[in-house]
Every structure is written in structure tokens, then in C-alpha cells.
């Protein structure tokens, strides 16, 4: 920890944490540039930068700003939202498995979205459906696991059960849908960034702009609460309001992110864990988790587009493959 002082002001920073964040920003920019410039048509990086200032060729403008940029930006924003949501829930449950993809919130969002698809909803209605599904599922899991307060392990077990139920409900709904809707819904269910436009990025951007300040405010109290409620209260933290605010933000971020891309699994689980290991921070690291989520998702999407080109994999399959490997690695390490 380094302390910066100016008169009676003082700021506390971890140099390592700062370095990790800067590196992640650099990695995010680099991967985004690759994603913007490569593909069926290559647009050289200078042309991308040129069109950023309105001095690009019409072809570059079309390919970069209409087709590729929305996808990349949506990926960055959704990744950041999943990273933050995961960081919040892992901190509250004090467990890496406490992330929204395991405790059923992502599954709730997915089912909400599918219901909207099957009812023939527009893209806004699908987004609304998945947000609603996420909130409803969070309330359900919370209510089911509430007994004399909520214990983390019970929340996780109930969440896993509810996820399984919802997944079977998803497939049932798909069988009831007409063939077109079923195809749309099926693609959406794996989590995909294909064909995403600015209209998908915008809601996530708004949600992040509104909720990031709340994340910043609760991050230090959340870290203290990892020592137990009594220890946190002893130093003057108002545990219940902080937890309520954090849960609300976490559920909203998860819902909004799932609404944009469908349930991209494992980003919310892996991003905060990787961020913590890199920064060596004791406890939740909001900014690094958000940046890590963004980098992970755009990188996974790039890999999903290019690895088996011209076959395009949905990014959810890629993150599931990478994340599953990581989960097994983490559990093996924990054992020792």
C-alpha cells in the first residue's frame, strides 16, 4: 500500500493493483483493435483510428462502426457488468461459487428472456423479460434459502437447484415455440455477441454509468464485511443497507448483461478470481474485476470467431470451455 498525501487529504493505493488495472486496460484496447481490424475484410489500424475522427473511408466506416464496433463495445460492457456482478456476490457469499452464474440469477434472466422470445417479443421486450426474470429469480432464491438469515452455502445449493429447474423449463419452452422463435431462443441461450448493434450496448452502458458509483461506494464496506458481520459492524459499517445496495446492484448488472447477450457463463465466476490473484488483494476488487471481465469476454469472442473460421461459435460456448477448465483447476488447487 502506498499513501499519497496532500495537506490533510490522503489517498491509499496499491501500486500492484494500479499496475494490473493499467495492464488490463492496455490488453482490452489491444484485443479490441484486433477484433475491429481483422475478419473477412481487414481494416488497417490507422484507418480505424482515422474513422474515429471522421476521416475514414466509407468502407471502413461501415465495417468498423456499423458491424464490428457495436459487437466489441457490447462485449466489453457486458463483460464488465458480469465481472462486477460476480465480484459482488462472491464477496457477499465469501465463496467463488457464489457468483450469479451458479446461484441461478443468470438462469433466471435466461428463462425470462426465453419467455419473451416465445411470446414473440421485440428485442426490448426480450431484454425486459430477462431483467425481470433475473430479479424474480433472485427474490425466489433468497426467499427459499432464508432461514434465520441467509447462509452462503445454503444460498449456493438452493441456487444450483433453481438453475437446474429453470434450465429444464427453458428446453420445455423451446419445444412449445415455433421453429423460428426456437432458433432465435436457442442461439440466445448459449450466450452470443453475434449481430449485436448499438441498441444492445446502450442499455448496458447506461446501467454501468448509474451503478458503477454505487459499486465504488460499497466496495470498501464489502471488503470489511468479508471478516464477518460483527467485525464489520464493530468498525461502524451499516451492514444491512450496504448488503441490500450491493445485492440490488449485482442483480441489476447481471440482468442487464444477460439481456444483451444471453447467459454467457463463467465470466462472472472467473473474472473476480483472476483479478484477485493478479492484484493479490485481500478481498473484492471491483475495478480490476470489471476490467478483467471485459477483457475476458472480448478475447473469448474473438477466439470464438476466429479459431474455427469460417465457423462462428457463440461466445458462451467458448467461455464455458475456458471457464470450466479454470473451475476444475481452481478446485484442484483449493484441495491442497
Amino acid at each position: 500500500m502506498t499513501v499519497l498525501r496532500l495537506a490533510s487529504w490522503s489517498l491509499r493505493l496499491s501500486p500492484r493493483g494500479l499496475a494490473v488495472c493499467l495492464l488490463l486496460v492496455a490488453a482490452g484496447v489491444a484485443v479490441s483493435l484486433v477484433a475491429l481490424s481483422t475478419g473477412e475484410f481487414t481494416v488497417p489500424v490507422p484507418d480505424i483510428v482515422g474513422s474515429l475522427f471522421g476521416r475514414g473511408t466509407p468502407a471502413a466506416e461501415l465495417i468498423v462502426w456499423k458491424l464490428r464496433a457495436p459487437r466489441v463495445v457490447t462485449g466489453l460492457l457486458v463483460g464488465a457488468a458480469f465481472g462486477l456482478s460476480g465480484a459482488i456476490f462472491q464477496s457477499i457469499t465469501r465463496n467463488p461459487l457464489g457468483s450469479p452464474d451458479f446461484i441461478g440469477f443468470t438462469a433466471g434472466a435466461a428463462t425470462g428472456g426465453i419467455v419473451a422470445v416465445v411470446l414473440g417479443g421485440s428485442s426490448w421486450q426480450i431484454a425486459g423479460g430477462s431483467l425481470l426474470g433475473c430479479v424474480a429469480c433472485a427474490l425466489l432464491v433468497y426467499a427459499l434459502s432464508f432461514r434465520n438469515g441467509v447462509q452462503a452455502h445454503r444460498l449456493i445449493l438452493v441456487g444450483i437447484g433453481v438453475s437446474a429447474l429453470l434450465t429444464s423449463a427453458d428446453w420445455y419452452l423451446l419445444t412449445r415455440a415455433n421453429i423460428n422463435d426456437a432458433a432465435t431462443a436457442g442461439a440466445w441461450l448459449t450466450g452470443s455477441l453475434g449481430g449485436r448493434g448499438w441498441e444492445h450496448a446502450l442499455p448496458v452502458a447506461c446501467a454501468l454509468a448509474l451503478l458503477l458509483p454505487v459499486c465504488a461506494l460499497v466496495s470498501r464496506p464489502l471488503r470489511m464485511m468479508e471478516m464477518g458481520d460483527d467485525s464489520a459492524k464493530a468498525v461502524g459499517i451499516r451492514v444491512e443497507p450496504v448488503r441490500a445496495a450491493a445485492v440490488t446492484v449485482g442483480v441489476l448488472l447481471c440482468g442487464v448483461a444477460t439481456a444483451a447477450t444471453g447467459p454467457v457463463v463463467f465470466v462472472a465466476m472467473a473474472a473476480p478470481q483472476l483479478a484477485r490473484r493478479l492484484t493479490r488483494s485481500p478481498g473484492v476488487t471491483m475495478l480490476a474485476s470489471a476490467l478483467m471481465g471485459a477483457v475476458l469476454l472480448v478475447t473469448a469472442d474473438l477466439a470464438a470467431q476466429r479459431l474455427l473460421a469460417p465457423v462462428q461459435l457463440p461466445v458462451g460456448i467458448m467461455t464455458a470451455a475456458i471457464g470450466g477448465t479454470y473451475l476444475v483447476y481452481m478446485l484442484r488447487k483449493e484441495r491442497r
Binding site: M1, S8, S10, S231, V235, G236
Partner: protein
Amino acid sequence: MRLQGTGLTLSYDDRVVASGLDVAIPDGSFTVIIGPNACGKSTTLRALARMLKPRAGTVHLDGSLITSLPSKEVARRLGLLPQSSIVPDGITVADLVGRGRYPHQRLMRQWSKQDETAVGSAMEATGVADLADRCVDELSGGQRQRVWLAMALAQETSILLLDEPTTFLDIAHQIEVLDLCADLHEQGRTLVAVLHDLNQACRYATHLIVMREGRIVAEGDPAEIVTAELVRDVYDLRCEIITDPQSGTPLIVPEVRRRARATASG
């Protein structure tokens, strides 16, 4: 009195632990709470430190309802070392002790010179200064307990509540911690500690509170209230009380089980 609870009914959901409990902590005292397991010592301490909302009754700190004071303000006057806490993965001793400074910090004053000094002297006092850069999860139970104590000390509150501060320590470290508490008390702080060892309680307490099943059975100067009858009533233990040859305070000597001795000698 600066800290007192009146007519407290304390419960976890439906389970009532105490009802109509009046508890007052004399200013400047070293108060020790004793009583059998599960009699409500921790619960009482938690209610006094606003960790647990009483179902009925009130807790006053410095004449104000404790719930009406800002949370950080309370934390600058009253500290609590809970019976158990969770060590965050990979945190260093200095970091953990530094967390005790939270109520003194603000968004634009995250680490003042005063924070630095307080953490330094808390680590000195508890003998963990040499461990400052070690990870807490690598320490022994006793060292860890002293780190938690250091965190509570760094908070620099004039009232300090300690729930079983000596539980994981060997006898030498127990005495060390209790001597430290006695020093803090002499420096003018009000201390409240839950202890399990009756003899230590009698030796260190200036005010003893004896609890059983959510009620206060006796309280006052240990030399005046501790009798063989009291120990029998509270712990169902037959004993003899003699005078501690070192401190002159009551010393509880449990009765030898007749049959066991008979078997041993025969």
C-alpha cells in the same frame, strides 16, 4: 454510566435468550462477564455493541440511545472483538490491524499520520509488530487472536468489549493478554471481557457480572460476591474458595470426586 442496557429482551428469531435484562457497565471499570456455556454472554455483549437489535428494551451510550447515534460515531467510542471472525484470504497483519482505523477515515482522508501511529502502537502492545508483513492465515491461533486484538486496539475507543479474548491462547499468552487488558484499564479505558476461567476473572476484574440462563445472578467486586454457594448455583460445581496467594483475590478450587480418588488410591 456511559454504557447500559435497560429491560433488554434478546432473541434470535423465536429463541429468547434473555428477557428483562438490565446491565450497566461502571465507568472506568474492568468488567468481566462469566457464566456457563450458552447462558447469553456473547448475546449480551452483542446487544451492548448494537450488533443485535433487542426485541425490547434500550441500550444507551453516553446518555443517547445507541441506535440514534451515527454508526461510525459509535465505532469511535466503543469497540468490540467478536468471539469469532473470518480472516480474509491473503491479508497481511498490518492490513488487518489497519482495518480497525475505518471509523476514523473518510473518502478524502484514507490514511492519516494518526492512523499510522495508532496501528503501530496497537501492534507493539500486542506483540505482533514483528509479524507486520506476514499473512494472517499462516499464523498460529494464538498469534491470530493477538492480531484481532490489535485491530480492536487500533480503533482507539475508550470503551472496549472483548468476547473471549483468551480462548485460543496457551496459559502464558492468556496472562499476557490479560495483563495487557489490565494496562489498558489503568490507562483509563473501560473494559468488558467475557472470560471462561473463574480464577482469572476474579484476579483481573474490578467488577464481575455472573450470568446464568440469560439472567444476572450476581454482580460486584469479585472478593465480595464469589462464594462456594454462588459457584454451585451457577455452574452446578462443588468447590472450596481460598485466597489466591499471589493476588489475594478468591481462588476457586473444585472438589475432588470422591469415588475417582478412591479408585485411584485403591
